[in-house]
Amino acid sequence: MQKIGVFVCHCGTNIAATVDVKAVAEALGREPSVAVSTDYPYMCSESGQNLIKDAIREHALDGVVICSCSPRMHENTFRKAAAQAGLNPYMVEIANIREQCSWIHKDKEEATEKAIILGRAAIAKVLLNAPLTAGESPVTKRALVIGGGIAGIQTALDIAEAGFPVDIVEKEPTIGGKMAQLDKTFPTLDCAACILTPKMVDCAQNENIRILSFSEVEAVSGFVGNFTVKIRRKARYVDETKCTGCGLCTEKCPVKKVPNEFNLGMDQRRAVYIPFAQAVPKVARIDPDWCNMLKNGKCGLCSKICTVGAIDYKQQDTILEEQYGAIVAATGYEPIKVDRYDEYAYTQSKDVITSLEFERLTNAAGPTSGTLLRPSDGRHPHTIVFIQCVGSRCTPEKGKTYCSKICCMYTAKHAMLTREKYPDTDVYVFYIDVRTPGKNFDEFYRRAAEEYGVHYIKGAVGKVAPRADGTLDVQGSDLLMNEQLHIRADLVVLAAAIEPSKTARPLATMLTASMDTNDFFTEAHPKLRPVESPTAGIFLSGACQGPKDIPETVSQASACAAKVIGLLAKDKLTGNPCVAHSDEWMCNGCSNCASVCPYGAITYEDRDFRMPDRTTKTRRVAIVNPAVCQGCGACTVACPSGAMDLYGFSNSQIMAEVDAICK
């Protein structure tokens, strides 16, 4: 027979004023298997805790019930006290007789009666408690950062600075991401390349950082502290270890008409190319869709002129398998395709461009060497119209429901820089709201309007009509004038909404990390845990979690690194012992549990079973990984054979509580 101790707290008068604590202690003391039942003014005080510890030792108690405040307050306090007295901490149950009894009832008799029932339910449960030990798992002290934009770069640098090795996996041939394509950055107008490329070089030179460019994550298994990741290193047909980045091949390649994706197709590159001058790693790549040698075996020029013999037409994809303790998603964003908003005539005129294209048109390394020229005829535009919120702030049927957040500021930047460089240009911005929360942001926008004479028009554009003379008729509304305007523009710039990278959704599936309806990664808590995914060991950096500008991305990236470092600094992780476990004799291997598990904690193994007739049978059974399981219990209900149960909240424990309450 088990021996249970019951301890009823007065909590000063908080409980004792409405609950007759003596009567409760007395009534519960009469319950079978209760060896000792007593009350005390403050159980959580040191002397209260000593009272419990002494009783555990004196009566050799097997379990303890504390009738006190909510377990959310002091469950840990009492568990520690029990452990100090040599009792397994999970042999403690709390009956919540303050928040859920004394504080909500006025009638003392009624409250006392309820407190007794709650105490009985706790006794019924603790009788079925089992001693639990939190599992420990080792931590692989290495991090994986997926995505090599500014978010991934910053996170990797910070982790590496703390002394932990980091791998950056980047799907493109170079790191740098979207920021590498930008011209200037708001609100200080530093040139993006000038502040980004030193960081890219830092990554390349840091001993703790390995850059796996032109690579993609293919499979992820394991759990926090112990991930195993398969990474596909895509064939670039150039030996990364030999190529010096001299660029000779990219000058001699005869295939010259390949649309250059770095300049968004506004100029051409060769079939063998280095994306841009400051690429890291500075290694060429051969584009198999265009290379004559790879397509039909006729050419081989680059191989002949390469002085280090780096060209390798036979190169194959390889798979790299690595262990990591933590994984950071930093997959960033893409601008949406604006084709569906063709009232703006994006597909009908070359002179209707997106803001990212505008960045390239004003960038010194861009297709026009930084001179703002119309894509159609290469002439200077004299009237430019910027259109805001293209595809943002829509109903789900019409586009993205959210504000893309960065457009107001970069448009102010574009407008300001245009007016500064080309004072003869008229610049109009059609806006719905100008949203500039951020340090020095509103001042920046006001400068565009006040000092640079940018015309801000409150209203939207309804139609952009290409005219025969090459101009664009922009028909918009000026809501403050209550007028419909027609502006003859030479160039129209669309502030396209941004959306998460298309690679994010399949990655989230591999990571079992959750996403919202827009395919942004969900954070563990929107306010208090903004850089962690609900899945342990997965962290979020940058715009993959939601639209962000560079300052915000960098601060989130560093916050994310701090969380990763905190994890990697531990030698062992202590788990929550209240996890699911499967009775392999009852399990029929149906997979129902795995399909409801949000964490991928359940796997299947073939086990040999010795049958009563002395034969051996091999059956597939579920195995719960206690380090991954978070203890929600979804699987326990999904299990048709009743094999799956949850420590700490077992079927029998909950039913015992039900029985005690319904008696």
Partner: protein
């Protein structure tokens, strides 16, 4: 193939050419347009008010009758009929209350729950004949002609119900023009309104609208324009001073197929 055909009131009167050339061209291309035996005017305009049921019943009856012919689809040529019939049919899909009330009105007639489908002759040419096949059947290609397609509003909007083509950058009529051997002229006003509904009540406003459309087509160098809508044709020819000719797309089709006579 045989398909139910809803000509609409105007094609029986002022737009007889539209009706005749549509039937003859379709027949030549293997599509028999079989007129629904009994039909009434669709009303020409679809009232968006949720509480207007009775004005949509003539369309519902036509759609219901169409079920008896061919594969149950109803073909139209006139843009207005297409718009009204298709919006009416779409309402069944999105508004159960409409379905319920319509069938209360229909008591005695067979029930109808939106199971039909409305197609425009242009869609039949694209999907059943195919523009490549059409190009092969052309005997008198319109070589060197620069033709501006005028969609107006009725074929395209609301796109949620009509789903005819991209409402901002449609291409079905341009592809049709190419199939006839001519060159399509893209001009920005091709999907803007000619002012049709105001023709009677405010002729001057309608004139300004149709003139704007024609100026846009002229600016882009059109030799002539084509349309599927009798009211658009009227506004673009009789209610404007611009002399660019406007023809029904079926007239041009009949010509190209060698049905024109000359």
């Amino acid at each position: 193939m045989k398909i139910a055909y809803y000509p609409g009131c105007t094609l029986k009167n002022r737009a007889r050419e539209l009706d005749r050339t549509a039937r003859e061209s379709a027949a030549l291309l293997g599509i028999e347009l079989e007129e629904i035996p009994v039909w009434q005017c669709c009303g020409g305009a679809y009232t968006s008010a949720k509480d207007e049921i009775a004005t949509k019943l003539s369309s519902v009856r036509a759609l219901a009758a169409g079920r008896q012919i061919g594969d149950g689809r109803v073909a139209t040529v006139c843009s207005a009929c297409y718009n009204v019939l298709k919006q009416t049919n779409h309402e069944f899909a999105v508004n159960p209350d409409f379905d319920f009330k319509v069938n209360n009105y229909l008591k005695g007639d067979p029930e109808y729950h939106g199971e039909g489908e409305v197609v425009h002759l242009l869609e039949l040419l694209r999907d059943e004949v195919g523009f490549e096949e059409l190009a092969r059947r052309v005997t008198k290609p319109l070589k060197g002609k620069r033709i501006a397609a005028y969609y107006g509003c009725l074929l395209l909007r609301p796109s949620s119900a009509l789903a005819f083509d991209d409402p901002e950058n449609p291409k079905i009529m341009e592809d049709f023009i190419r199939a006839l051997g001519a060159e399509p002229v893209l001009y920005p006003m091709r999907n803007e309104c000619c002012g049709g509904y105001l023709t009677l009540s405010d002729r001057e406003t309608a004139k300004r609208r149709s003139t704007a459309v024609k100026e846009s087509a002229r600016e882009m160098g059109a030799d002539f324009m084509i349309t599927a809508c009798p009211l658009c044709l009227y506004n673009l020819t009789k209610n404007t001073d611009d002399p660019i000719p406007v023809r029904y797309f079926t007239e041009v089709l009949a010509d190209a197929l060698g049905l024109g006579g000359e």
